[in-house]
Each structure stands twice: as structure tokens, then as C-alpha cells.
């Protein structure tokens, strides 16, 4: 194999754009929400489910899912969990601070092919972050889609994200919204139990329902089992994987699962593609 490298148009891949934080909200002890504006209010141009590389000079870069819908113009939103050094520093930032942004990267949910379908969202923990982008997209294009069913699970009530959205989803007449926590508190009046407990009770139009699943690695196995029991065809399932996506452009190798670079072919995968990837789930 020989490539005429002088014919290849090379790209500068590692330069971030300097973007401004325009709003910050704390959701929980660990998660904060940020509204971010690119220079000139340019749109990020992402698909629901894609991610950006967020960086602070001197501290490094990390992949973060975009949580706003592409239908939102002028700025985009991130919800960041404090898990490492960089995210800890990001949590200290306030309105007016700047961050470096590269991206959007990877494959998101193929919202065009979902048109006319019912959408079943299954989000565990911070898995709801990229899913909220899809949810808002569907809400903003409501007539293009059928039912919107949201299943959301968290460890406990204190870890629930997006309090304003949750109220909205609950109130809305055309969203079927079910929530559960692994462990309740005395004040908690809703469901308790893991997210899979919400699945058997659903009344679904099977061939017409697209399922989007995002959650911690441990959740996938169990959710997929429940979906199988529910006879949801594999072709109708999409899920998003977490890996160490260091470069975002398919070079550094950290996110590789077999031949697939999660930062390029994922993070959102069509389940039939994933079944052949060893190590994926």
C-alpha cells in the first residue's frame, strides 16, 4: 500500500477555538451545566449524541457530550461531571471564563432516519446528558416523530439532573416520562429500583419504536436483556459508549474497540454493529 502523500490535503487537527461560558448552573454535588458560545455566536453544527473536546490551557483536554439540541442557536450546552483534574477545574469556572473547544466529533444519533418513529429514551446516570440533546431535538421537531417515551434512572434523588427539564417532561402531554432511583429517600415518592424495572410495563408499537440507550457500562448488559425480553428488534436499538477519547480524530488509539475508533464510528452505535465488536459491552 503506497499513498501519494503530497496529494493528501492535510488538516490542522489539534487547535481549539476559544469559546466563552455564558451561563452556569449547578445540578448536583458533582454535575454542573454550562452554556457556551463560540466566537461570533457561530453554531456548533453538531448532531445529538456527538461530543466536543473541552480544554483549559495548562490542564489538558477531555471529551464531553453536547447536551443541547442542534435546534438551539447561538450557543450550546454541556453538562460536566467532576471526575478528574480537568473537570474539577472546569467546575471552578464562571460566566465570562473561556474554554478551548474542538469538535463536534464522532457519530451522533441519526435523527433523520428516526423520522416518523416512536422514540424510546433510556438514560442511566449521566447517560441522560447526550440523550437530552436528542430529547430536545425531538421536542423541537415534534410533528416529525411519534411517541416520545423517556425512562430516566439515577442512583438517588440527589443525583437527578436537569430539574427544569424534568418538570417540563412530567407536565408535557405528549411526553411519556418515567423516572426511577436505585435508592429512594423518605421524601421520594416515585419509583425505586434500577432502570430495567421500568421496561416491562411499557406498551410499545414494536417495529415502529427506536430505542436510544445511554448509561454507565454496567447498565447496557441488563438493559439489552430487558429489551430483548420486550422483543425490541436489535435494528431499532442505538447506544452510546464511553471510552478514553483523547484526540477525537481517530489517531491516538485510546478509544479503540477492535477495529473501531469510538471517537469516529461512535460514540453512538447502531446495536447490530456493536454485536460484532468484542470488548464493546
Amino acid at each position: 500500500m503506497s499513498i501519494a502523500i503530497s496529494d493528501v490535503k492535510s488538516q490542522e487537527l489539534y487547535c481549539p477555538e476559544i469559546a466563552k461560558i455564558t451561563a452556569v448552573k449547578r445540578f448536583t454535588e458533582k454535575e454542573k451545566w454550562f452554556d457556551i458560545e463560540l466566537p461570533g455566536g457561530r453554531s456548533l453544527g453538531h448532531q445529538p449524541g456527538q461530543f466536543v473536546q473541552v480544554s483549559l490551557f495548562g490542564a489538558g483536554e477531555a471529551p464531553i457530550s453536547v447536551t443541547s439540541s442542534p435546534t438551539k442557536k447561538g450557543s450550546f450546552e454541556l453538562c460536566i461531571r467532576e471526575v478528574g483534574m480537568l473537570t474539577k477545574l472546569l467546575h471552578k469556572l464562571d460566566v465570562g471564563s473561556t474554554v478551548g473547544i474542538r469538535g463536534p466529533y464522532g457519530k451522533g444519533f441519526d435523527v433523520k432516519s428516526f423520522k416518523g418513529k416512536d422514540i424510546l429514551i433510556i438514560g442511566g446516570g449521566i447517560g441522560i446528558v447526550p440523550l437530552r440533546s436528542l430529547i430536545n431535538y425531538v421536542i423541537d421537531n415534534r410533528k416529525d416523530y411519534g411517541r416520545l417515551i423517556i425512562l430516566y434512572g439515577a442512583k438517588n434523588p440527589d443525583e437527578l439532573l436537569y430539574p427544569d427539564d424534568l418538570k417540563l417532561w412530567k407536565k408535557s402531554n405528549d411526553i411519556e416520562y418515567h423516572i426511577t432511583v436505585d435508592q429512594g429517600t423518605p421524601e421520594w415518592k416515585g419509583n425505586t429500583g434500577v432502570i430495567t424495572t421500568l421496561i416491562p410495563g411499557l406498551d410499545l408499537d414494536l417495529p415502529n419504536t427506536i430505542t436510544a440507550v445511554v448509561g454507565p457500562p454496567i447498565m447496557y448488559k441488563f438493559v439489552l436483556m430487558s429489551l430483548k425480553t420486550k422483543r425490541i428488534p436489535d435494528e431499532n436499538i442505538y447506544l452510546s459508549l464511553e471510552r478514553r477519547m483523547k484526540c477525537g480524530v481517530g489517531k491516538c488509539g485510546h478509544c479503540q474497540i477492535n477495529h473501531s475508533y469510538v471517537c469516529q464510528d461512535g460514540p453512538v452505535y447502531h446495536y447490530p454493529e456493536l454485536k460484532h465488536l468484542q470488548e464493546a459491552i
Partner: protein, 351 residues
């Protein structure tokens, strides 16, 4: 193809001739028993008769450490790392290392073509040299003939008096143009080199072996000997994984975003910030490494991504041999998938 004869005595003046045309890099002696590619200052210190260099010429296109950006926190400004625009001539490259460069060209130009690699890579000429395979070389077994000239502009084949100079490309023609001390190629016999086949199967058959390699016993067995030091990754001429880290200067205001070679055999390679490590065991990591050389990229390109340089084996302090791993996979494949009665019956029918 034009051929000349270059005697050993003429080599230094040939190197001087090359130096007038660009920066020349060639193998030099390093340490007690090793070699490395270095910029040529003195033509007499170039060693063309060597077994292998510690690192391949990859280091010139994907440096072990490089600044991706220099930044200032004060005003949030940054500059890209710079690339020296110079004509580079690599002298004394073995055929397997040339092939490795061509493979990296693929990796860095497909998908998102990377400026850093491609800028460094352009304006390079390669002058190959033949070599005598040692116990670790197996490039021929992965489909790279000893005298494979693909990628070279000039190829030097050792003979009893020096080298037969074969001009492969127009670029090669220009490189030698004006050097009048070469004579017409004499009919001197080349060193006849035996290159033993070391892999049990022809490389064309490896894809079928690697179809069944996931649960092989060899991964667990090898992991008992392996310490996960990452040497096999770092010396590999077709490995290109890297890590990125920011470093601040003492001013605490300015610094650099740096990348350095990384390896999938290392502990934290597949670990995410939340703590999950997606390839925690040495067996999983070994399997990933070998599959990267023989399956993952190969399934797409149709070629092994291992060039048979033997570095990972020669420099493994634990004595782990990639040839032995692949051969054991062939054995396991035969035992578990080929010798089953059903398959034998099928073969018999075909006969």
C-alpha cells in the same frame, strides 16, 4: 532500471554528495551493541551494515515528544508547533522499515489527514540498503521480500565490493546526478541471503487464523511472562498511538500542549477519568496489540500491519516473541478448527 557500482571506499563521498542536497539521516552505532538513525555529521560514522536501529525512521515524522501547541493563559492565545521545511534524505533504510513508513502514511492520511505527520513527512527521499536477516527478522514472512524496493528512490544491494546501486525513481536519479565516482554496475554476485520463513502459515492465511483468535489460550499464557512495560509498542515502527499532556512553564502563565508516544500495553491506556479500565488485564492488552498488527487494520487494508522487523521481540526483556504468539495461534487454530472430523470430511469430499 539503471544500476551502478559503489565501492565501500566511495561511500563517504557519496554521502557528502547527498549532504549537499539535504539533511541526511543514517544509521550510527549507539551504545555497546545497538544502532540508531541520526543526522549525519561525519560520513565516516555512518554504518550501513547493521541489524536494526532501536527506533525506526518513524521518529522523524511522529517524534517521540512534540509540542502540539504553545499557549498563554494570560490572553488565551496559542500557536501551533512548527515544522522545519527541509529536504530530508534517509540513507540506509531496510525494506521492512520503508514498508512501515508507507503504512503510517495510510494511518495519518485516511480519515482526518494529520498536518503534523504529513508536513514532516513531505520532502523525504529514501535510500534503502539490503540486510542480512538475523534471528528476529521475519519481514519476508509477512509479505515483504528482502529486496522489496517499494517506497525507495535508490536501493543499495550489498555485494562483495560494496553496493549495487539501483535507481528506482526519478527522484533517485536526481539524487545521484552529478556524483561521478560510481562506475557501471559490474557483474558482481550479490550476497546470497537465506531468509527463512518463520511464520507457520503464509501471511495470506493469517486472516482466517485471526477470525478464531479471540479466545485463544496464548493470551493468558503470554500474560504470565509479560510485565506490561510497553517496550513492544514503543519500538514498533507501525505503532502510532499517543498521549497528550499540558505542561506549564515556571511563569505558570505560558506552557505547551505536548504529545508523546503511548502504548496499549500500558496500565492506564484504556482507562477513563471515571476509573473504568476497558482493558485491565495484560492478556486483554496483549490480544489487542497483536490484533492491531494482524487483524484490525489488516481487515480493512488487506495487509498485515506488522512488518517483521523483530524489534518487539528483540527488545522484550521477558523474551516474548510475536512470531511464537502467531505460530501458537496457528496451532490452536489447527487443533480447534481444522482437525475436526466435520472439516476433514468436507476436505475429503472436495478431493
Amino acid at each position: 532500471m539503471k544500476k551502478y557500482q559503489l565501492n565501500n571506499k566511495q561511500l563517504p563521498s557519496f554521502i557528502d554528495h547527498l549532504k549537499k542536497q539535504g539533511t541526511v539521516f543514517a544509521p550510527h552505532k549507539k551504545g555497546d551493541t545497538s544502532y540508531s538513525f541520526e543526522k549525519v555529521e561525519n560520513p565516516n560514522s555512518v554504518v550501513l551494515d547493521y541489524n536494526r536501529t532501536l527506533n525506526s525512521v518513524k521518529k522523524y515524522f511522529l517524534p517521540p515528544r512534540e509540542h502540539l501547541l504553545s499557549f498563554s493563559k494570560t490572553d488565551n492565545s496559542f500557536r501551533k508547533g512548527s515544522f522545519k521545511n527541509e529536504k530530508k534524505i534517509f540513507l540506509g533504510v531496510h525494506s521492512y522499515d520503508m514498508k512501515a513508513v508507507l503504512k503510517l502514511d495510510y494511518n495519518f492520511s485516511q480519515g482526518n489527514p494529520e498536518e503534523n505527520y504529513l508536513q514532516r513527512r513531505k520532502d523525504s527521499s529514501f535510500i534503502g540498503v539490503s540486510f542480512i536477516p538475523d534471528e528476529f527478522h521475519f519481514s519476508q514472512s509477512v509479505g515483504i521480500p528482502l529486496h522489496d524496493t517499494e517506497g525507495f528512490d535508490i536501493y543499495l544491494e550489498q555485494n562483495s565490493d560494496g553496493y549495487t546501486v539501483k535507481i528506482i525513481t526519478e527522484k533517485g536519479e536526481k539524487l545521484i546526478d552529478g556524483f561521478d565516482r560510481v562506475s557501471k554496475a559490474k557483474d558482481i554476485s550479490s550476497n546470497h541471503v537465506q531468509f527463512q520463513n518463520k511464520l507457520k502459515y503464509n501471511y495470506n492465511r493469517l486472516p482466517e487464523v485471526f477470525e478464531q483468535s479471540w479466545n485463544a489460550a496464548v493470551w493468558e499464557e503470554v500474560s504470565k511472562k509479560c510485565v506490561g512495560c510497553g517496550t513492544c509498542n514503543l519500538v514498533c515502527p507501525t505503532c502510532y498511538c499517543f498521549d497528550v499532556e499540558d505542561n506549564l512553564d515556571l511563569s505558570l502563565q505560558t506552557g505547551t500542549r505536548d504529545r508523546s508516544w503511548d502504548g496499549c500495553m500500558l496500565n492506564g491506556f484504556a482507562a477513563v477519568a471515571g476509573g473504568e479500565n476497558f482493558r485491565e488485564t495484560l492478556a486483554e492488552r496483549q490480544r489487542h496489540r497483536v490484533h492491531r498488527k494482524f487483524k484490525y487494520i489488516s481487515d480493512i487494508t488487506g495487509e498485515p500491519w506488522c512488518v517483521g522487523c523483530g524489534r518487539c521481540t528483540a527488545y522484550c526483556t521477558a523474551g516474548i516473541s510475536i512470531v511464537e504468539i502467531v505460530n501458537q495461534l496457528c496451532d490452536e487454530y489447527e487443533q480447534n478448527y481444522l482437525n475436526r472430523p466435520a472439516v476433514v470430511g468436507l476436505n475429503a469430499e472436495r478431493l
